[in-house]
Amino acid sequence: MSRRTPVITGTGIICAAGCGVASVWESIRVNRSGLGPLTLFPSPRFGNHLVGQVCDDVENLAGNVRGSRSDKLSWIAAREALAAAGYSAGLGPINPAGVGVMLGSTVGGMLGTEKVLTALLRKNRHRFSPLRFHECASTADLCAKQIGALGPVATFSTACSAGAMAILAAAEMIEQGEADVMLAGAGDSLSRLTLNGFGSLLLLDPNGCRPFDSRRTGISLGEGAAMLVIEAEETAIARGATILARLAGWGASCDAFHATAPQPEGSGAFAAMQQALKRGGLQPGEIDFVSAHGTATPDNDAMEMRALKRLFGDAVPPFASVKHFFGHTLAASGAIKAVLAVQSLREQAIPGTPGFEVADERLGLEPVKEFRAQPVSLILSNSFGFGGNNVALVFGRSVDSAERRHYPADQHAALCREAATSKGIPILGTGVVSAAGNSLAEIAEAFRNGGTAASPFPVPAISPTAQAKVHACGDFGAEQIIEPAKRRKLSRIQQMTLVAAKKALGAELIGTTTPEKICAVIGTGLGSLTDTAAFVENLILKDERAPRPALFTSSVHNSLASQVAIELKLSGLNSTPVQREISFETALWQGANELASGRAELALVGAADELNQYHLAAGIRGRGRNKTSQRSLPGEGCALFTLGRKETAATPLAFVSAIRIGRSEKPDAVAEANWILETLERDGIAPGEVDLLLTGANNVPAQTEFYRGLVAEFSRRAGHEILLDTYQHVGGEHHSASAFGFFTAIGLVRGEIAAERACKTVVLLTLSPTGTKGMCCLRA
C-alpha cells in the first residue's frame, strides 16, 4: 500500500445553492435549486434566463483580497477548505516547498475585462487596471500567495473539465512526491462572454436546465468555486488530520472529434472513465454512484448515457446530475462535484437530479430523482469539456483507505526510470512559429545578428494613431500546410499552433503508436485573445445582437490543443496549462508525466500566445511607471515539441530532464541557485556539467543584475563558469516565450545556435513576475 495515496482533508464551496459545504449540502438534501434571475450585469438578450448566480455578498465574504469575482469566489472556497483541513492559522510545521496549488479556470477575470471594454468602447474611458486580473492564472497566484505555497503552482483551462483536470494534476503531484499538500479546485464567475457564447450555440435553456429529461434543450449557466485540500496520506496521518475521503482513481482522454460537440457514441467519455478505473485498480461493478456531467444539452446527456452503458453494461449504477442546483459552473463544475462526492461518502447519501421530470426513452436510463440515503464506497465523477477534453475522477471512502488496491508509488517511480534514457526524455520533433522566422536557420541567424527587427502594431484602444513596437510573426506558411476547408475555420493563433504541431509531430512519428497513446499538452498564457476580444466587442457594440458562435468556440483556451488533437487524431490526455510565463513548463511537466506513467508513448508539448491590442494597451499604461527603453519588446509565437520514450525508434534531437515547476516568495539569487541545483541532483545531473543558463530575462537593468547574481552563485557552486543568455530579444516577450527558449536551448546543445563556447548542457529557467517558476535541463 502506497503511503503517497492522495487523500482529501478539507473541502470548501460557494455557488448559487449556498455558501459553505454545509449550506450547499442542505440545499441538496431538500432538493432546493439555487437557479434564479440574473442581476450581476445587464443582458439585453439573455436577461430573462434563469442562472446560477451567487447571491451572497462575495466582496464582503472575500475579505481584503484583491482580484476578479472569480478570484474572490475561489478564495472564499479555498479559505473554507484550508480551515476544514486544519490550516486556518497557516501551514504550521508543513514545509511550504511541499505545498502547491493546482486550479482550473475558464472565465478568469472576464467579467472585469468586459467592464473595461464597455467603458472604453461606449464612453471612451481608458481604465485598464482591472485587466491585471484578466488571466486565468490570477486565482492560483492569489491563492498561492495567501497560503505561502512554494511548491508547484499551475492553472489548467480545459473548458468545462478544468476543475477536474486540476484535481487530476494535483493527485499526480502528490503521488510523485513533488508535493505533500495541494490546494486543488476551480472557480468561475458568470460573464457576458459565456452567457452570450452558450446562447450563440443555442445551448441555453431559459427556464432552467433539465438533465436527462426528454424535453431538455440546454444548460443553465452558473458560477461558483470549490476547493479541496489534497494531501499525501502519510502527511495527513503524521499531522493527525481527519481524512474525509481519498482520490481512488483518475483518467483523461480526448474525443479528437469536434470543437464543441461531443463524440456521439461517447468514446472519449468512456476512455476517460475506463482510465480512471484502471488507475485505481477498480472494476466497474465496484462503483456505487456516478456523478454525471449531465449538462442537459441534448448531445452531452445522450453520449454520456451511451458511455455509461458501454462501461457498465446492464448494471449502470445509480447516477445523477446536480447541474439544476447551481447551473453549469464551467471550470468549477468538476471541483464542485468533487466536493459533493466527498460529502456523499461522508454522509452515505446521494443527490437527486432536480429539473428531471420526463424520462427520455432514447436514453434508456433514468437518473436518481431525489436525494436519498444509500451506502456508497466509490463514486465516479465525470467532467467533459469543449474540444472533447474529458476527465473522470473516482472518490473513495476514507475508512477503506488501507484495503483498496492502488497503483503503488514505487511502481510509478520504476515506470519513470523506465521511460527516460540516462540523459533524459528524448525530444523527437520540433515546430516553431516566431518573429525571427519559422526555421532553425532563420532563428540561428537572428541570434547571430543580435536580435529581431521590431515592427509596428496598431493600438487603437489608446488612440487612433497609437502604435506599439513589437516582435510579430510574419507569414508562417498556413496556406501551404493547412488545407483551405480547415483553415477557414481557424483563428490566426490556432493556425500558428496547427502549423507548429504538424512540423513537430509528423505522420511518421504518429504512425509509431496508436492515437490514445499520444497526449497533447499545449499551454497558453492568454489564449485566442483576438477572437475573444472580437466576440466581446461585438456584444458590447451591438447590444448582444447576433453573437458569433465561431468566435466563442475559439475563445476557450483549450481550443488550441483540442483543434490539434482533432486534426492529428490524438486521443490521449489533452490539456491546456495557462500559468502565465510558466504555461510551457507546466505543459512540459504534464506531457513528461504522461510518458513516465506509461499512459503515453508520445507527448506533444509546447505553448502559444498572440499579440493583441488590449493586452498591449494595458502593458503600455502599466509600464508608464517603470519605463525603460532597453526592455525587450512584446512578441508572440508558438513552439511545440514531440517527446518520446527511450525505446522510440526515431533519432532524438536532444534530451530533456530535471523538469520542475515551483514558486518563490520573492526572487533571491541564492534560493534560485539552490532550487536549480536540487532539481539537477534529483535527476543525477552534476552541476559541473552545465554550460549555460538560458533565461527569460527581458533586459530591464534590475533583472539583468539579478540573473548575473544568480549565474555567479550557480557558477560558484558548480565550480566552473556557467554562461548566461536570453532569447527575448529574438522571439519577443510573451507568456509562451519560454517555449521559444526551449527551441533555442535545443539549438544550443546541438551547436546549431552559436554561443560563446560549445554548450552540451543547458538549463532553461523561467521566473514569472508573480513568483511561479519553471525549469528543465537540455542535453545533447
Binding site: L202, P206, H258, T260, A261, P484, K489, A550, T553
Partner: protein
C-alpha cells in the same frame, strides 16, 4: 425567391470564406449542411447569427434552425416569411 436564393448563396460563400466555391456550385435543393460544402454545426450556428444580423430573424431553438436549413430553398422560404 430565386434572387433571394442567390443572395443567400453569396452570403454563405462570403460568410464562411469558401474559397473557390461559386454560387453555381451550390444546389438549392440539397441540405446546406453535411454535404459537399463541408459545412459543420458551428457553420450552421454562424448562419443563425447571419440571419439575425442581416434579416433580423432571431432563432433560439436548434429544431427551428434544423428545419430552416433543410435546403437553400427552404431557407429562402423561411427568410421571406420571417424577415423583419
Amino acid at each position: 425567391m430565386e434572387s433571394l436564393i442567390e443572395e443567400l448563396k453569396t452570403k454563405i460563400i462570403g460568410g464562411f470564406h469558401l474559397e473557390g466555391v461559386t454560387p453555381a456550385d451550390i444546389n438549392a435543393d440539397e441540405p446546406i449542411f453535411g454535404t459537399g460544402l463541408e459545412l459543420d454545426s458551428i457553420d450552421a450556428l454562424e448562419l443563425v447569427a447571419i440571419l439575425e444580423s442581416d434579416y433580423g430573424i432571431v432563432i433560439t431553438e436548434r429544431s427551428v434552425a434544423d428545419k430552416a436549413f433543410a435546403s437553400l430553398r427552404a431557407l429562402a422560404d423561411f427568410v421571406a416569411a420571417n424577415r423583419t
